[in-house]
Amino acid sequence: MTGPARTVRVASGQGFWGDWLEAPVRQVEGGPIDYLMMDYLAEVTMSIMQKQRSRDPSRGYASDFVPLMERILPTIVERGIRITANAGGVNPQACAEAVVTVARKLGLAGRMRVGIVAGDDIMDRLDELIERGHALANMDTGEPLRVVRERVLSANAYLGAAPIVEALGRGANVVITGRVTDTGLTLAPLIHEFGWTGDDWDRRAAGTVAGHIIECGAQCSGGNCLVDWESIPGLEDPGYPIVEAQEDGTFVVLKHPGTGGRISVASITEQLLYEMGDPHQYITPDVVADFTTIQLTQHGKNRVRVSGIRGRPATEFLKVSIAYFYGYKAVGTLVYAWPDAYKKAQAADRLLRARLARLGMEFEEVLTEFVGVNATHGRLAGSPDPDAPEVQLRIGVRARDRAPVERFSREIAPLILNGPPSVTGFAGGRPKVEEIVAYWPALIAKSEITPRVEMLDA
């Protein structure tokens, strides 16, 4: 006699670096889970981390991760929960060492090991790669990387699930990675548990779709959900999503009992379409998943069953995420009050532009938006309410040189006393001049990248 099919539960604990700090703790304590996955890396995060590491070689990873581990390590070791997280950024080794230090402090010496996944960082190999004929052409513009080579700040290939599977196979309780795809963090535990083979494209596609659904945390379980948004209960304590997967690749998305939010076909569909390109080919290092094959059914309250997913062989390439220095920008705001709030804000915009022109300041772009009128929907918002209680003027500038942006940041405040009346809302001080780090997406042959897996025992 066979029992119910074995299932594996992968919980989402963090949808981005800066997500709700309580989420991972609640996932660990709120009910049974087998794995906790945490996604920390956005496109430009790596360059911020690179900068931190260049100032201090012990930094360059998601620093929030370590105090979080301090809160949950005793429980996860006790219950056998394992963690996959790309919190390692450009320095997974240092992140792992910090976690091991915390583990020893908690008395877990000899009771846990940390897996480190690296090999994604190709910053030091760029010249050699270019020399050997790898153009690393921008996927959007087709330009070769040499055009911006001198300004490159970080370069990382997106690794897939394979090195995480290896780390789990070698007994890691916590796997800390560099630039691994968000979906790989969920797919890897499923490959490890079910022993899916390298050419089982449908199951790999299913695990990848599972990863896509939960990689943004509560965004699939009631957060940022448009349909019936006012009736979504308990968002002061949102239940983050959990994938409960079976060996055949079907899975249910659910959340812990007693938590807020909502998991419905509608909420899952919204997340499936988030940041979607061609749905027939969702390309990862592990598989090409076909989102037009996904079947969703409501399977009880706050439970959605996902099945039918088909996949095709992975490509021979990995995506490379390159960050390079671009220039400077600043955004300034002022608030104008009734009456004629919009007209006053428009007048202030004209004055400011005229002053910048007289100063001979040149910008790549000057963008004016009126918050309360057109900042989110542009002209589609229709004509403004002539009786609007207030309108916020929001002006942004971008230039390759710092000087004009710096000068712009000093031209906002004077408008308070020498421009149109009824102006307020300048508590924040001068606009901050920001360095722009731009993103350069490229491809590289898989054969050029060798992931590295190491173990560190507490």
């Binding site: 988030y274 940041e275 979607m276 037009t292 900042a375 929907h377 589609l380 722009i436 731009a438 993103y439």
Partner: protein, 123 residues
């Protein structure tokens, strides 16, 4: 009842209605491209979306707000359409000066669009 209640005989008039009553949506970004996933609120609405919310009509809706073209993909399994709005984000990512640099609210901007619907559809 006065003359107002009498309607001339003939084909039933078609009504125009904002997409917000037929669909919900979510949007995101990839570089300088915004994507909008448009999801039918009822199965009966999906064919209306397929017929009326064409790439050309969406391009017209966003006229002046995009520097590139509009692509459309159908996902009948999810009763959804996915639109790619190229050149929507003022350069995209960190370059963009826009409030909505990541295209998060192109979703509801699309829901403003009006489409004709048959009179025998309940909304």
């Amino acid at each position: 009842m006065g003359a107002k209640a009498r309607r001339p005989a003939g084909p039933p008039a078609r009504r125009a209605i904002q997409l917000r009553y037929l669909a919900h949506a979510r949007s995101g970004d990839k570089g300088d491209t915004a994507n909008v996933g448009l999801i039918a609120l009822q199965p009966a609405y999906y064919p209306i979306l397929v017929k009326e919310v064409t790439a050309a009509r969406v391009a017209r809706h966003f006229k002046g707000m995009l520097t590139g073209a509009v692509d459309r993909f159908e996902l009948p399994n999810l009763r959804s359409l996915n639109f790619l709005l190229h050149g929507a984000l003022g350069g995209g990512g960190t370059l963009s000066l826009k409030t909505d640099a990541q295209g998060k609210v192109f979703s509801t901007a699309l829901l403003r669009m009006e489409v004709p619907i048959p009179t025998d559809i309940d909304v």
